[in-house]
Symmetry: C2
Subunit: 233 residues, 2 copies
Amino acid sequence: MKLLLVSNSTLHGQGYLDHCAAAMRAFLGPEVRRVLFVPYALADRDAYHAKAKTRFEALSLQLDSVHQASDPRAAAAEAQAFFVGGGNTFRLLAELRRQGLLSAIRDAVGAGTPYMGSSAGSNVACATIMTTNDMPIVDPGGFDALGLVPFQLNPHYLDPVPGSTHMGETREERLRQYHEVNCRPVVGLREGAWLRIEGGAVHLEGSSGARLFFPGKTPLETMPPSRLELPLG
Amino acid sequence: MKLLLVSNSTLHGQGYLDHCAAAMRAFLGPEVRRVLFVPYALADRDAYHAKAKTRFEALSLQLDSVHQASDPRAAAAEAQAFFVGGGNTFRLLAELRRQGLLSAIRDAVGAGTPYMGSSAGSNVACATIMTTNDMPIVDPGGFDALGLVPFQLNPHYLDPVPGSTHMGETREERLRQYHEVNCRPVVGLREGAWLRIEGGAVHLEGSSGARLFFPGKTPLETMPPSRLELPLG
């Protein structure tokens, strides 16, 4: 299985996917020339596809969008690679489920098709979307997702803001609540970081770190490049 | 119908419910002596009840908790008033549904029992929980909630942080996404504010304002005290 799970598509002050473009190109390898895009996390799929297509063409990659395929499941089965874009995780999961794409993508990735996701696209790679930051604007018909990895991701991981007077829960408090009722490890992936998963290992890469949460334990800080001790089986 | 829907239970620098305690006492009126507490938004129900009970006793109100009732539905039917505490909205809704309390509370409030909620407890008073800020740590078995009002609330409403380099969606962007697929008005209720709903009118009260979102329209700013032009029927 080959996965590249990016925290965020745009780093402050840079263009769309700029901070991870080289890593994406290297991850895919020279034999991949076409990527299948999944735009369902945003409302305007055509505009989203156009934006991503331009960015991928600069990497000499053709980007087809699954929303234009006459048979989305067949398109997934035949894809050379996937890129699942960010946006709203609930909307993305609802549409993947409605189209029968969860099993189609899961089967293809299990058979070796490389999977790249950003933000919501990284969330749906997990067993569930229970560690998303997004607003539940649509009912996804259950929180179970692709289940490509047995741990959870929290993209755009945010440290508490010093001196804040806002009384909403911090991100860490939210993840502690998750662990009150669930036991999967959670990788809090800061903006600028991504996980590259291949050869049975989880590599933390990018320009910022991750905070790892395990139920009942003190969180661990990790900086890239490093290998994370997380289960994959 | 009598509702007091508070944005947040604790204002920065103050104690639990201090900023809205006088409003709660006045809202209930002198004939109410006992309130039924719903602690399900937090994991430790006994501790949550103990904390809230102390605060209510300072208002000369007895606070029973529904989690200690031998028949929760009967307790709801007989309650003089409700207070639904904050925490995680998904966990709260899951338990209300599991206990059959959605219809019991809805019926009681429809018959005149005053309802007070804070944060998650205000979210579940709406038709759905789709405008919560919380992490979906448990599957609530559907997003439909008490439906006491036909509009949505976003508690702890937060303005964009000037100069922030974080690339996650702002609260306003999230609510705009909600309106891409839903049409209910949303009241973004800042910390310190609450809605008092009685006599067929929606009153904005407290120390801070609200931002009102309607699909396809520019948001409206409102400061308390004011009456909001929102449908109740």
